[in-house]
Symmetry: D2
């Protein structure tokens, strides 16, 4: 499997953030985006789907925002710190909201338990990258 780190190492110019921190954030974002898509779908197939409406909505938002953030971070050409920083902050907010909601269902639904952990990891990875950019 090719990883974000493998690809960062092939970038033909230099970039000024730590490659490991950046690659960890991209990996966490991709995992979280995909996990949220699958969690939204698993919620949609639960018997009491009405009780999962909030979780589905936050999963859909978090999936979209993580996917977009992973793409923006994957680009090194003419990096824009303002755009990157504000998008990372939006992503932290999305992972926090979705992680909290999934956490609240985690005792009864395994997909929400896994997704909550994925959101927490992604939130941390985005925070760490924000710290490294400061």
């Amino acid at each position: 499997m090719a990883t974000a780190k493998d690809m960062l190492e092939t970038y033909p110019r230099s970039f000024n953030v730590d490659a490991d921190t950046l690659a960890s954030a991209i990996d966490a974002l991709i995992e979280c985006g995909s996990t949220c898509t699958q969690c939204a779908d698993a919620c949609l197939s639960e018997d009491d789907v009405a009780a999962m409406a909030k979780c589905i909505r936050l999963n859909l938002d978090c999936a979209d925002i993580c996917a977009t953030t992973s793409r923006v971070l994957g680009r090194q050409t003419e990096y824009d710190a303002n755009v990157t920083r504000s998008l990372l902050e939006a992503c932290v907010a999305a992972c926090k909201s979705c992680g909290d909601e999934c956490q609240s269902h985690s005792e009864h639904m395994r997909h929400c338990a896994i997704c909550a952990e994925s959101c927490r990891r992604c939130e941390s990875a985005c925070q760490e990258l924000l710290g490294a950019m400061a």
Copy 2:
């Protein structure tokens, strides 16, 4: 053509932001996302493509961020103000950066001139929605 406003009017529950302001933001985001995708591609076919690398990169970011923001705004179910607000702020930053870069090419490239205007309209529509949410 069905518009964002047409669809908002069919939403089965109530929502607490002005429908016209919200619909205007969704419309502007969709237009800007699509225009940025086409502008990135037009830049890629210019003779001096090396000079357009920054514009292409910002167009790609802006396209992704606007598309994601239009989706998040299109969802009314269990609306999350924190996520929405921080994403709108990221979108304002993306539209500002992309609009500035496109503006700088607008005299010589018609696609950048149109795209700069689209970014400005989108930035304003997001700012207006942020104001209405306050």
Copy 3:
């Protein structure tokens, strides 16, 4: 508002499909993708959401596929007929399935009625473009 047609007219090289047919397809795809996102969300807020699970799922698929197809069609640089054609066929299938499902709810749910029409228009626009490419 900048339209797909406005942007196509600024493309710096020539392209070999009718600009009006292409622009109509892009416009229909963007409208359908956005309408499906809003329809999925409206379905999620219906009282009997369990009955809407199939509609939500097909709306999410159709939203993703239309958005991606509109991006691929928006690019003229080094156009690839095989990719375009097979993606348009996937989009026709998605619009057909989603349109049929929304149609079945259209008497009782206005969002599904509007979305069904949007899917039909998009299916036709994709078919027309496939015909023009032949």
Copy 4:
């Protein structure tokens, strides 16, 4: 890290395709989509970017199509075989075109060499899933 397989195992209903084959396809699609986004960006920073225009365009298409296909495959609720099959076929076409183009640059550009392999793996994984669905 949570994987597609971990999440498939939590799906509350049954589904009728082999979970390992499905999970392998989702993993390959996510990897390929992300690798293509980074390859497009690396190409954009090459000295002779004009020579990379075709590669950039195909990378952007392949990134969008793989991301969308991974989402559609991640959903089990009310699975639609027609949509899935035609989208997998579009994805095979995109991975083939992008893989061929990246292959042609692989001797001189490490990002294209890695990306070509990622496209080949993804093409195979999609073909295998198409076979398992037959």
